[in-house]
């Protein structure tokens, strides 16, 4: 059966050009870039080319790019590294309720260590309020971390405005741009961000490869101590093949950004309109326009997300409910709760994220299948519009959890 992959926010297939770079390094360039002999010098060039490609993609200086082993590592490094470096100055951090777990769980960990964290709420579309932010900044605030674009509902936060507010207060500003990178233009000079996390596998690069942009002059503790790699800021023999591949992927992403995002957006809007027109009792999560070009997030009333996913999978369609990293979890998505959905509704979420190889026919097929699947599952459900369930009542009965 033909498969239709609509989970590009979870991960993307590797681009053939990226694959070529990566396998070339794997096969031919096995040197350690820290070594002074020719095998080392030769592979070091690829690492530095990649650093240039990444720097160029976000308008940074090459000395501001540090490679990491994932987007999560970049996030952890940014938060913990800034927190530890500045703990004498203050122990207050501001973030949002809708961050990725790499940020949220890191902040929770710091809370145990005496840090205080403000989790800004968001409105029904997933946007933070700039007034909330201003009000939250205190004398002892050392870091503001607000994601560029949300991985579940696709909402794009007003990063430039946030950056201005934060800069004015002299606080350090980090943004998790793992989902935004390659999908919306990013210019760190224009945006006033001090640190920015990205990940290769979201832009048709390999998994296990990320980077952290650290503005020159911003002091940060290391997360991984050891050898002198990455200008002594991130130890460990460089993942040379992964780095070179990430560089190539970033280059391609930026070259094709406009064209690609137009393509994604067209299909996205087609999918949203098709589903909203043909299926009753469905909500679009996230902002109608300030959203990632490839992100579609729905909640279907009266049914549960996993059964939709399984049904789609059987129809040849790969999609997700909430984020991939928590799909083993039973809790409803913290993002959907933060935008105000009741837990019962949040369980019925479906995220479809479009990629550069997705076609119009794919979208048409998905809409067709969804109509059938949703109807079938709703018929199986004990709740419906005539017999809705009062969450509060049943919450008491929820003794299994």
């Amino acid at each position: 059966m033909k498969r239709i992959y609509l989970d590009h926010a979870a991960t993307t297939p590797i681009d053939p050009q990226v694959y070529e770079v990566m396998t070339k390094i794997l096969a031919e360039e096995y040197g350690n870039p820290s070594s002074i002999y020719s095998e080392g010098r030769s592979v070091k060039k690829y690492v530095e080319t990649a650093r240039e490609q990444i720097a160029k993609a976000i308008n940074a200086d090459i000395r501001e790019i540090y490679f990491t082993g994932s987007g999560s590592e970049a996030d952890n490094w940014a938060i913990k590294g800034i927190a530890m470096k500045n703990r004498a100055k203050g122990k207050h951090i501001i973030t949002t309720q809708i961050e990725h777990h790499a940020i949220l769980h890191t902040c929770e960990y710091l809370e145990k260590d005496g840090f205080e964290v403000t989790y800004l709420p968001v409105d029904e579309f997933g946007l933070i309020s700039l007034d909330d932010l201003k009000a939250a900044i205190r004398k002892d605030t050392i870091l503001v971390s607000i994601m560029f674009a949300n991985n579940e509902i696709g909402t794009i936060e007003p990063i430039k405005e946030i950056g201005e507010i934060v800069k004015e207060k002299g606080v350090i500003f980090h943004t998790d741009a793992v989902q935004a990178f390659g999908n919306v233009p990013i210019d760190v000079k224009d945006l006033n961000v001090d640190l920015l996390s990205i990940s290769a596998h979201k832009i048709y690069g390999p998994k296990g490869m990320g980077a952290l942009f650290i503005r020159k002059g911003v002091l940060i503790d290391n997360l991984i101590h050891g050898g002198a790699q990455e200008r002594k800021k991130r130890a460990g023999t460089e993942n040379t093949a992964g780095i070179a591949a990430f560089g190539k992927a970033a280059e391609l992403a930026v070259i094709n950004l406009e064209e690609n995002s137009k393509h994604l957006q067209t299909l996205r809007d087609m999918l949203i309109e098709g589903v909203m027109a043909k299926i009753p009792q469905v909500r679009l999560n996230g902002h109608p326009t300030k959203r990632l070009p490839g992100n579609v997030s729905f909640c279907f009333d009266y049914i549960e997300g996993e059964s939709i996913l399984l049904s789609l999978d059987l129809a040849g369609i790969a999609a997700s409910s909430g984020s991939a990293c928590t799909s083993g979890s039973l809790d409803p998505s913290h993002v959907l709760l933060a935008i105000g959905l009741p837990a019962g509704v949040a369980h019925g979420s479906l995220r479809l994220t479009i990629g550069k190889h997705t076609s119009q026919e794919d979208i048409e097929y998905v809409i067709e299948q969804l109509v059938v699947i949703i109807e079938r599952l709703r018929k199986m459900s004990p709740i419906d519009v005539n017999c809705p369930i009062d969450d509060a009542v049943f919450e008491d009965a929820g003794h299994h959890h």
Binding site: Y302, I303, E304, G305, E306, S307, L310, L314, S327, G328, S329, L330, P332, P342, A343, G344, V345, H347, K379, M380, S381, P382, I383, I389, D391, V393, F394, E395, A397, G398, H400, H401
Partner: protein
């Protein structure tokens, strides 16, 4: 999420879906906040034998498969037997469930008990 073929079969082609119009025992457990609601309908004859059973379920693949399997297992049992149906028997009949999905089988066993209780109370009789 590694479902057995049996689970997938029961998810894809669940048996006994829907409401029994002549049910004389109905039980419902779970909550949408937890992500599962199971409603079981029983048609019990005068000898206490379950003549027919059906379900309506809001929940994941395992919840639907457990509902299908459990209703199928109790048809023909008398209510004493059915009330004692253990969730582990449902799991076994399904060829296993992932750890984090075991609670779905628990839910099915509880829904059956609730329906039997309901029958005994004569609430829907």
């Amino acid at each position: 999420m590694d479902y057995t073929d049996k689970v997938m079969e029961n998810f894809q082609n669940p048996k006994h879906v829907g409401e029994l119009s002549d049910a004389n025992g109905v039980g419902q457990v779970g909550s949408p906040a937890c992500g599962d609601i199971m409603k079981i309908f029983l048609k019990i004859d005068d000898d206490g034998i379950i003549q027919d059973a059906s379900f309506k379920t809001f929940g994941c693949g395992a919840a639907i498969a457990s509902s299908s399997m459990a209703t199928d297992m109790i048809i023909g049992m008398n209510i004493e037997e059915a009330a004692k149906l253990k969730n582990s028997e449902v799991v076994e009949a399904l060829g296993g469930l992932p750890n984090e999905k075991i609670h779905c089988s628990v839910l099915a066993a509880e829904a059956i008990q609730a329906a039997i209780d309901d029958y005994k109370k004569g609430a829907t009789a």
